[in-house]
Every structure is written in C-alpha cells, then in structure tokens.
Symmetry: C2
Subunit: 173 residues, 2 copies
DNA sequence: TAGGATTCGTTCGAATTCGAACCAGCTGAA
DNA sequence: TTCAGCTGGTTCGAATTCGAACGAATCCTA
C-alpha cells in the first residue's frame, strides 16, 4: 500500500507468508511426534509433556496450576489429563500440606519408566525432524528467537495489554 | 550416555530444552492470536486460516482435501469448519464439474469483507508478537529454517518413513 | 469395458480442550 | 476477629478434533 515503510516493517504479504508457513510447520511437526508417541508408547503429546515437566523438577512433583502454566492449557484440561495419567498409574495426586486447596502431582515409578522408554525415541525423532537438519549457528539463532518471542509474550501477559488495532491512524494523506 | 557424539548431535538435555521451549512458545503465540480473533472478529484461528487460504488462491476457491492439507487437519474437521463458515455466510460450497465427488469451497462477499476487516488486526498482532522483535537477518534465517523443516517433513511424508528408534544399535562397547 | 483399488467427502462416536460457574481455603485490611 | 476478595482445583456443557467406516465416483489395468 504505502511505499515508505521498508526498514522496520514487513510488507503484509511477507508477514502473512511467514506466519502461515510457521503455523503449518509447527502443526506438522506436532502431528508427527504425537502420532509416533501414540503408536509406540500409548501416550498423547500432552501426556508426554506432563511427564517430562514432572521429571524435570527437583521434587519430581508439581502443582496443578504450574503444570497448566507450563504446558499452556486450561486448568480444566490439566485436571482431565492428570486423571488420565493417574488412571494409567503413571502419575499420582498428593495433597499439599502448605495449602489445603493444592495438589502435588508426582511421577510414579511406572511413570518414570514409561518416560525413560519413550523419551529417547521421541528425542531422536525431534532431532531428526527438527534439529539435525540445522547447523549449530542456526540452532543458536533459533534459541535466541525463542527467547525473544518468549520475553515478548511474558511482557504482554504481565501488562495484560489490551490490544487495539487502529484501523487507520487518521494521518495518512 | 556415550561420550563421543558431540559434533553432529545435541546432548539430550539440549534437545529437550529447545523442543520444549519451541512447543511452549508456539502454543502461547497461537493462543494469543486465537483469543484476539474470537474477541474482536468472532472467528476461530482455524476459521481465519481457512478464509486466508481461500483468499490466497487465484480462483478464490479450493477443494476440501487441499484445504485439509493446507491447514493440517483431518478431513472431517474441515467438513465441520466449512459447514460452520457456510452457516455464517462467509463461505460457500459449490459442486465440482470436473469431479462429481468434489466440492469447491469459495469465499462469499461477506467472507471477503470479514477477512479484510480481520486481517490487518491479526497481521499487526503477528508483527508485534512475532516479527517486529527480530531483525531482518533473523527473519531471513527463520524463513530458511522453516524451509528446511518443511522439506524435511515433505520427504518423510513422501516416503512415509516407518520410523524406528533403535534403542541401542548393538555396537556400543 | 468390467472390476478392483483409490480418492473425495461425510457421518459417527470417542477424546480432548475450553471457559464459566462453583466450592473451599487462604489473605489482608478494618 | 471478621469479612470481602483472591486463588487452586474441579465440574459441567459446548466446541472442536480425530480416526474409522462408509457410499459414491474415478482411475487403472487386464
């Protein structure tokens, strides 16, 4: 449209293209991993994610809310999935002494074992699809990008910015 | 575990960290956009995606299957969403002369208008969260990465590679 | 040109996700 | 101390997604 905004902005077509491509690639990646996980380890990607999050902690346990925050889903979805995992015997819910409302979700032995079996398989798939194809510099760059986006999102959350898109700032001739 | 594979491979912890971070960031990005879209334009991200895909074609129409392929969902989900859009008057289903089984999904005038209203808003949010924060070189790099991953996935699909993770190739001492 | 294999799109049921409403426990200020 | 407000988690109903099964149309091959 206007012809003077080349340095800091992208042209609409470019933005659209990159974003579209980004969405498509991420979805395809997730689908591949998810499918593999279900076929070979009877786990959903979400369930696997929960197990990984739990295993990543020092205490081997996490509060429901923190879990929800980490895996980026609604609290109710976490309740649902943790129940599922608990029914499978892979995780357990323990009451929380510091706060009687709270729940500590912990990995069971079976959960650890399942994770130990699944993780190498998944990580190798992740490597193959996602990381092996790029070199060290690119990987570093990717990591930097992820950091930037993450900070960006944090900031937005912190301020809970009320996004408004001004249609036309009423100053174009 | 073994200690000799440092150059082309990542350490498990790194892979895990990058992948985790990637998943989290992409989910947060999508949620932000999705929420905005629903609040301000009464559209799901999927629905918006469909409208964009349709608008991107020369004919302003697309076959159901191609749509499913583009937005990376099951065909049944496309049926569901196109029905939804059709009920809203934003898209229409036309029969296909070349193939009597087929359906051409086309944008209606209302659909174009809705998209024209929503797109700037969404693109500006995408810019803000996703692209403005990175410089031109990084953007170019990102584009390259997306290309690599995409090709990778294409290849895998083409050969429908039967993924097997050999637990230990039985040659480590 | 008949018949098996594919492909196109739909339908159905199951799984998952979300948000709103809710209850119970915690916190802070009067 | 008490009461209003907040926070952690669950429940419920609605929306969405998936995959399997299906019918119809097309393609391919003999």
């Amino acid at each position: 449209m206007a012809a003077g905004d080349f340095e800091s902005r992208w042209l609409p077509a470019d933005v659209n293209a990159v974003w579209t491509r980004f969405l498509r690639v991420t979805h395809r990646l997730e689908h591949q991993i998810d499918r593999r996980l279900q076929e070979q380890h009877d786990l959903t990607l979400t369930q696997y994610e929960i197990l990984v999050r739990l295993a990543d902690t020092d205490e081997g346990a996490m509060r429901m809310s923190d879990l929800a925050d980490r895996i980026v889903t609604a609290k109710s979805a976490v309740t649902y999935q943790v129940n599922k995992l608990s029914a499978k015997g892979l995780a357990e819910r323990n009451k929380c002494d510091e706060d009687n409302r709270g729940i500590w979700v912990a990995l069971t032995t079976a959960g650890s074992e399942r994770l130990e079996k699944a993780a190498p398989c998944i990580l190798s798939l992740v490597r193959e699809l996602f990381l092996d194809a790029i070199n060290c510099d690119q990987a570093a760059e990717l990591d930097k990008l992820l950091g930037i986006w993450s900070d960006n999102l944090d900031e937005r959350d912190r301020n809970s910015i009320p996004f408004v898109h001004e249609d036309l700032p009423a100053e174009a001739a």
